[in-house]
Symmetry: C2
Subunit: 134 residues, 2 copies
């Protein structure tokens, strides 16, 4: 039984479960920001996943990246596994723009999260599900 | 013919070439900080690599991660592909400690790089080469 870390539960919408990862949308309208969380307990580093899961993580990150590029047309993707504050392994995928609020700095610790409206969150979640189920 | 970005040439020691990536050591003694650069020109995102290269990148990142954990015994690895300033795809691997200069913040843009002594750089490069060749 996989348990998502309480901080991720609090900060994110849980969009859907892929084969390996739960796909989250961070509730921060400053940037399109999605997170992959491998549904494995007690893992904090990519190298701690087994080889099959590591391959699958690359596949799911690739599909998510292509979706985000197509959907959001960013100037750059930022992909990162940090986990200094939330130890459960989670991989950030952030669409960055040269005119976003903190470009070119990394986003962490810079801006207070700006919550989505309910309509906008629902629209993004629906779009994402359609892309992954399509 | 692969050309390493001038900023990476300036900031890093070029340790060795793996099958896909050039392995760099950032000249910043604040944290053990190594960088993988796929030796492919005109690529700025992981998804732009072909499928074979993406698999190989995961393998090389995995081997590097295990080396860094064994060698440096960090509290956390930070792995990231950002590239907002240097567009050539490069993947940071940073060994973080709860008592390092900026924990728990991400390292980018925080501390001025502290150059290694020549002896310390040579020692780290030699250790790394031995681990990857061994």
């Amino acid at each position: 039984m996989f348990n998502l870390h309480a901080q991720l539960v609090k900060d994110c919408f849980q969009v859907m479960d892929l084969s390996l990862c739960r796909l989250l949308l961070l509730n921060d309208a400053n940037y399109p920001w999605m997170i992959l969380v491998p549904m494995r307990n007690n893992i904090s580093e990519i190298y701690q996943l087994n080889a099959v899961d590591r391959s699958q993580l690359m596949v799911e990150s690739d599909v998510l990246s292509r979706f985000m590029v197509k959907q959001f047309n960013p100037d750059k993707l930022n992909i990162a596994a940090l986990g200094n504050l939330v130890p459960q392994l989670h991989i950030h995928h952030i669409a960055r723009y040269q005119d976003d609020p903190v470009w070119p700095a990394p986003v962490w610790g810079k801006k207070t999260a700006k919550a989505y409206t309910e309509d906008e969150a629902n629209r993004l979640i629906k779009l994402t599900k359609a892309a992954f189920n399509g």
